[in-house]
Homo-oligomer: 239 residues x 2
DNA sequence: TCCTCTTTCGTCGAGATGACGATAAGCAGG
DNA sequence: CCTGCTTATCGTCATCTCGACGAAAGAGGA
């Protein structure tokens, strides 16, 4: 903590808040990107974000940026702090410390045209990683992906990618998109319906997936998964 | 990311790097604290930390603070970013954004007298939480504890609390101190010796624990634990 | 009606785990 | 040397979970 204190003793540091906003669209994991209109990295794709305001809390800044870029109702979006990046030179203009937030959102039907939403669009993560992003945003994105993949294992957070009511198959497709591996529908069904507090039946059902009508569920109250969601398929055993 | 750019457009923000340094001493989990010599919170206990320097990377700043406060050889200390705190008013003097790092260290034999090490000392976490810390350091400490407890479950990081060579019982006492729950020595032994890459036998043995001589191990190359270290004792089943 | 599709329920063997018994191998004291 | 104490290490067993897969249920379409 600041012991010696002198307003002139510390350097000028700009603080920004950036976002890794993930969603699952057409069975693929996608990230929200904006095209930079100014130097440096003009024309390159970048994560959305902006300066922290004078009297703004960190989560509030993240929520504000999220609303500006997506117009999403922020009661259906999961938002958590990811990490902070401050390597000198990561922004050629000046010393910038960036607090990165991770957001998981359901596939929004209309790309709501907010203030800055015009230039923002969801890009499949594979494409985003192939096309080098501006600044060190490749790294932020990779860190966000790693966090999201890990969290699906031991939290019921996959439901954050789903609409209010969803089927077990829709939830499974979220896992398959984020992890990039196919899962057995039968074992998956047994697992999630057996997990305490993961799913709450709504009583409704739907045939939007084509075959036999599926039960509709909403998110349960659980915050963690015990035991965790097994990720491997085909890997025999670690022990 | 900074789109509009104007050096005068962002407010003056001080960036500090604070540390939650944990160790296990006398079977209890302890945290490194310093006594504040200046206002605000003069005389209160606080986490060690300081200002980020102009051309210093974040992990480098954390490592520097750690060396200043403990004098620990920093090749035996695990250091990772914990979270960033920037709520307006958390420091009454000015806007401060603090990047907090978590460090796990073995019990150092001599409290090496470094530059600032004089005032720094390890305090059992229970005592630290009972005595309110300066600023919002209670929260940083709680977050650090939560992270540490979680990481022991799915990583071999408990060995970071142990010296170069250690016995299974010493490792078990680390888990018991961090989690605050007793573990069955026989099941624990089976688990850690069976986990791939967790422990590497040295061939030596010791009787420093009193009874039958115990094998000495060093840390293995594994970075994660599959399956994870079971935490519950007494809880029958979650399903 | 028959086929196809997806959901949902069962079965089986292979680990993993919790509880706990049994043995091994040191030391202290008589 | 023998007895008792300590702790380390090995086994056993019932229960739970998981992966692989079979089979029935319930809708729509040819």
């Amino acid at each position: 903590m600041p012991q010696p204190y002198d307003p002139a003793a510390f350097p000028s540091v700009a603080v920004t808040v950036d976002l890794v906003v993930l969603t699952v669209r057409a069975g693929r994991l996608a990230v929200l990107l904006v095209e930079r209109g100014e130097a440096p990295h003009r024309g390159r794709l970048a994560l959305p974000g902006g300066f922290l305001r004078p009297d703004e809390d960190l989560p509030a800044a993240a929520a504000r940026e999220l609303a500006e870029e997506t117009g999403l109702p922020h009661d259906c979006v999961h938002l958590e702090q990811l990490a902070t990046y401050g390597t000198p030179g990561r922004d050629p203009r000046m010393r910038v410390v960036t607090i990165c937030y991770l957001a998981l959102a359901p596939d929004l039907p209309s790309p709501v045209a907010g203030t800055d939403a015009a230039s923002a669009s969801f890009v499949p993560v594979d494409d985003a990683l192939a096309a080098a992003l501006a600044f060190d945003h490749d790294r932020l994105l990779r860190d966000g992906l790693e966090r999201a993949r890990a969290k699906l294992e031991y939290t019921p957070l996959a439901a954050a990618f789903c609409p209010e009511e969803f089927t077990v198959a829709e939830l499974r497709r979220v896992y398959e998109a984020v992890w990039g591996t196919p899962l057995d529908p039968r074992n998956f069904h047994r697992k999630v319906t057996g997990a305490d507090g993961f799913l709450e039946p709504t009583g409704h059902s739907t045939t939007r997936d084509g075959g036999r009508p599926a039960q509709l569920y909403r998110r349960g109250p659980a915050r963690t998964l015990h035991p965790s969601m097994p990720r491997s398929t085909g890997d025999p055993h670690p022990g």
